[in-house]
């Protein structure tokens, strides 16, 4: 029970940077899930600021068998992808996703926030409830904010777990996103003459606007 010690000590001095780095290392190593800066800070003695430690730590693990990766706002230690073949025993059997599920996932990722109707428009076919459920269950997509259009439809966005699973720092790092946007393929182009209401969003930026420059 060295409970009160670190807290009391922290009232007097903040641990030196090297010590903070060790702490961040221990905290992140211990967690299988990515941890946000706030979560890390919450675990450290009062007065610590792990942001700098994260930077030095990331550098320290560069090229190692384990690396410190960014996942959205969070960080996690992950084995280097080039060593994956050594871990085949740890590999978890993934349920094979249906084509519909894979495509729906990609559409959510590239078009988020996206409504079910929009997904159906893109795929040209109804999205079955099971497909969406499966992706939600995998914690790869989740409900986003409602669209401020008639009917206030819900939108879908990808989760941090999705980023973690596919080794993406952020949704902006999706492969080919820039090209798709440049080609106008992420635009919500309504059918000419169709009565689609103008998509006056409440300022939500979709993936097509993510790279406003």
């Amino acid at each position: 029970m060295n409970g009160p010690d670190p807290i009391e000590k922290s009232l007097f001095e903040v641990p030196p940077q090297a010590e903070q780095e060790r702490m961040v290392e221990a905290i992140l190593f211990a967690s299988a899930e990515p941890m946000t800066l706030a979560q890390i800070t919450g675990r450290m003695p009062h007065g610590c600021d792990p942001a700098e430690a994260l930077v030095t730590l990331m550098r320290r693990y560069e090229g190692r068998g384990v690396s410190l990766t960014r996942v959205g706002d969070a960080h996690a230690f992950r084995t280097a992808p080039d060593l994956g073949h050594l871990m085949h025993l740890e590999a978890t059997e993934h349920r094979k996703l249906s084509r519909a599920a894979i495509e729906t996932l990609a559409i959510v990722a590239y078009h988020q926030p996206v409504t079910r109707t929009e997904i159906e428009e893109i795929r040209g076919v109804a999205v079955s409830r099971g497909t969406v459920d499966q992706l939600i269950e995998l914690d790869w997509i989740r409900f986003g904010r409602r669209r401020m259009t008639p009917g206030r439809p819900v939108t879908f966005v990808v989760t941090e777990h999705f980023l973690d699973h596919f080794g993406l720092e952020s949704a902006r790092d999706l492969p080919g996103l820039k090209d798709l946007r440049a080609a106008g393929l992420l635009d919500n182009r309504p059918l000419p003459g169709a009565m689609t209401p103008p998509d006056d969003d409440d300022g939500q930026t979709g993936q097509s606007e993510l790279f406003e420059d």
Binding site: A32, L83, G84, E103, V125, A183, P192
Partner: protein, 265 residues
Amino acid sequence: MPEPLPEDWTQPPRSPTERLADEALIVDVDGFEGPLDLLLMLSRSQKVDLRRISVLQLAEQYLVFVNRAQALRIELAADYLVMAAWLAYLKSRLLLPPEPGDAGPSAEDLASHLAFQLERLGAMREAAARLMGRDQLGRDFFARGIPETVERRKTTTYTATLLDLMRAYARIRTRDEFRPYAFDRENVFTMEQALERLRALIGHLGDWSDLVSFLPEGWDASPARRRSATAAHFAAVLELAKRGDVSLRQSETFAPLMLRRKDGA
């Protein structure tokens, strides 16, 4: 609506290989994820960039496909037939010069939108493939195998003060006193006692005097005793006034209650 399919899809004589390909397609009909998917597949046979695709030709291909499926008595889902009807309409619009006064989008706009949809679907499909081709957690890279669980030690301290304790006890005892109203005689001055005292005192009463001045000694120290004595004396003077022994006077509400002996009493 899909029944009277336009008559102009009459097929040119086809080579056996083409026919085989067609049949393969038709057998595969369950494998398509809707009409757009089918169109995308058909468009591939044009072997051009989707942007330069001939929508007219694509419409024809689609209608042929649907017709053959129907000829083979393969049941197509409604949306395939809806698409067929729409493509038939589009095809006729593309072939005929626009009628004067034709409102709405032009046939070219509709065609280019269809091309856009196909291109977009194709792009999403490639994106999906690229996504699934990425290194994946639990397959190509791994999280810590022995995560160390963070122990949440929640210490709950319960607080209570002596006052809380006494209040609680008082609460219980007060509940008790509802039942047999056991008087604490020691701290209660009764009206009978007050009457007796006052009767003895008013004989000596000259001018108006404050009721409070009649309170017995030792009963003004604690609020409870004081309250009890005041109430008893108040009730007693009311009784005396009723009998005509004393007069009462109060200049205003809550002002001191004054009394004096009634003349002739």
